[in-house]
Symmetry: C2
């Protein structure tokens, strides 16, 4: 055992300060006034004993856990990690603690386990990252005992939601590429949610609106290496002059794959990503992409939850964040146009 002294309790503090337990509680929660003299004594005792209130006891007695649960399939990839960072920051500012519950995939047992883990902490609200099938499946099987908000790129139903309007941004991106003179734009997707993600919808809409051919979708995994493989494959197809990728990691892999296959970017092929990954502007060529404010997404999620804990927010309320297309070196008009 590496432990040493025991953690002090509220009654240790009360005893040392010569006051009753509820008085210590009042000092801690500073809502009911306490005489200055006693307050000082209590504060001193807290300091001397290095007392820290037990969140468990507080939760049990007050029925308020000051906890928010995040349910997500991933914690470390760029978009996910930034969203979580935004949530944690906003939660901390509001004096809430965050727990994360990971759903590896959309298997029913896995989802159930994650939901149980999330709810056993008695969270006052739950944030689900519905960027993928696992998150999406979780959203569909959540108890309704507590406010929930979904954070995503595609529309869900019946649940308050903060959405990054990827569809509009993707449309703008594809339209821009077509206007440069590309005959069409190919599309590589990351693993999709239940239906179709906003990026794909926007891509198809823009192509159809312009009367451009709609090529078959190429599916990648979350691993950037799958982008490289796709690039190598596409390099031999002269009909491919512009590609939009589901995220920047895939796009960066694609860049490498195209180079391996002897194609120059942007002279032979234009490439665009999605997310504005911190490394995307440093690549050679720098990557055209869509900036998504993930940490703002997280912050809005927290704000939504906190307000729905007090107000009477209507179900299914939708907030939209507008991403921004960043034109950089990896896109250009096709040769000979």
């Amino acid at each position: 055992m590496t432990t040493v002294k025991k953690q002090a309790t509220i009654s240790d503090v009360a005893e040392r300060a010569g006051v009753s337990v509820p008085t210590v509680s009042r000092v801690l929660n500073q809502v009911v006034p306490v005489s200055e003299k006693r307050r000082k004594r209590v504060l001193a005792a807290i300091e001397e004993l290095d007392y820290r209130p037990s969140a468990a006891a507080r939760t049990l007695a007050s029925r308020r856990s000051r906890m928010l649960s995040i349910v997500t399939s991933n914690t470390s990839r760029y978009g996910y990690a930034e969203t979580i960072r935004g949530i944690e920051l906003a939660a901390r500012a509001a004096d809430y603690t965050v727990t994360i519950s990971v759903v590896e995939n959309d298997d029913a047992a896995v989802v159930r386990r994650a939901v149980t883990a999330a709810f056993s902490q008695s969270p006052e609200g739950v944030i689900v990252l519905t960027f993928d099938p696992a998150g999406d499946a979780t959203l569909r099987s959540l108890p309704t005992t507590v406010p929930v908000v979904a954070l995503s790129g595609a529309r869900a139903e019946g649940v308050p939601q903060v959405l990054i309007d990827e569809a509009t941004a993707a449309e703008e991106l594809v339209r821009g590429l077509l206007e440069m003179g590309h005959r069409t734009v190919h599309h590589i997707t990351v693993p999709a949610v239940h239906g179709e993600d906003g990026r794909t919808t926007g891509w198809r809409n823009a192509l159809q609106a312009a009367g451009a051919p709609v090529p078959a979708i190429i599916e990648a995994t979350w691993d950037p290496q799958s982008g490289r493989a796709a690039g190598l494959a596409l390099a031999s197809d002269p009909g491919v002059t512009a590609v939009m990728c589901g995220n920047d990691e895939i796009a960066l892999g694609l860049l490498r794959g195209l180079a391996d296959g002897g194609r120059r970017v942007p002279q032979d092929v234009s490439v665009a990503g999605f997310d504005d990954h911190p490394l995307s502007s440093l690549w050679l060529p720098s990557l055209t992409t869509v900036r998504q404010d993930f940490s703002e997404l997280g912050a809005r999620g927290v704000a939504t939850l906190l307000s729905s804990m007090t107000d009477d927010t209507e179900d299914g309320a939708l907030q939209t964040l507008r991403p921004e297309v960043l034109w950089r070196e990896s896109t250009a008009p096709p040769l000979g146009s």
Copy 2:
């Protein structure tokens, strides 16, 4: 309010199943045997009521929270995020929940707040990521009521620790560069811990052992753009033929800065990073780097904590992880050698 029904409690379940509360508890914890007949009834009641035990009440009654706290300055950068992922995975496998407490910097008040947040959850153990000054300062001000483990790249004292032996890997890297014919190797650091990080130590040792000049250290921030700025600055110095960076993001930025300044990699300048970031092998040229197994680091941290909760582990026990140098395209002998 978006909430609907109330969460069922253990006595709701007991009543519905026609048994006493402790019997339900026994079924839940499956340590004391319960007759098959009653067990079935209890399980059915749990299912029907969608009952989930309250972690707070369990913690309070059993004095076991089944929680582990992570204290870290950052949650989203590659090394941190991967370490956290490794911790979460190992903790979940052992049926522990993880809370994260963020210390933005090493300011005393900030540290104190983070420590309080971490300990108020009554964690059974605390994992501190001491990759930087904030984590390092936290480690120095932790109560000793609970087992603690530090995860880092440089040696700390008096605390059980899992260390990635960066120093040895950095030494090997620098030695390799010198053997290629480089006169010396420059070094760009990320914000350092209390003393000096293992990478810097290894770098200096290798230079001194070879009798090579030890250039002034160049300091970067965590932002990859600072690597780009450094690259632009170094591009005009013909004495710079090899550079080792504190992490891959900085190295990737450096690559871009050198290119902006008209230097070719690896012909004019060799560049090496640290971490084996998923994008480092896709870059053009692919980046020579040091692979660190962050998720293993996290897993070992959890294992250490769990064992020190039962065994009598000696204080200050040290485990070492051996990183691996990956030689790729960004390093080569200097021109004319």
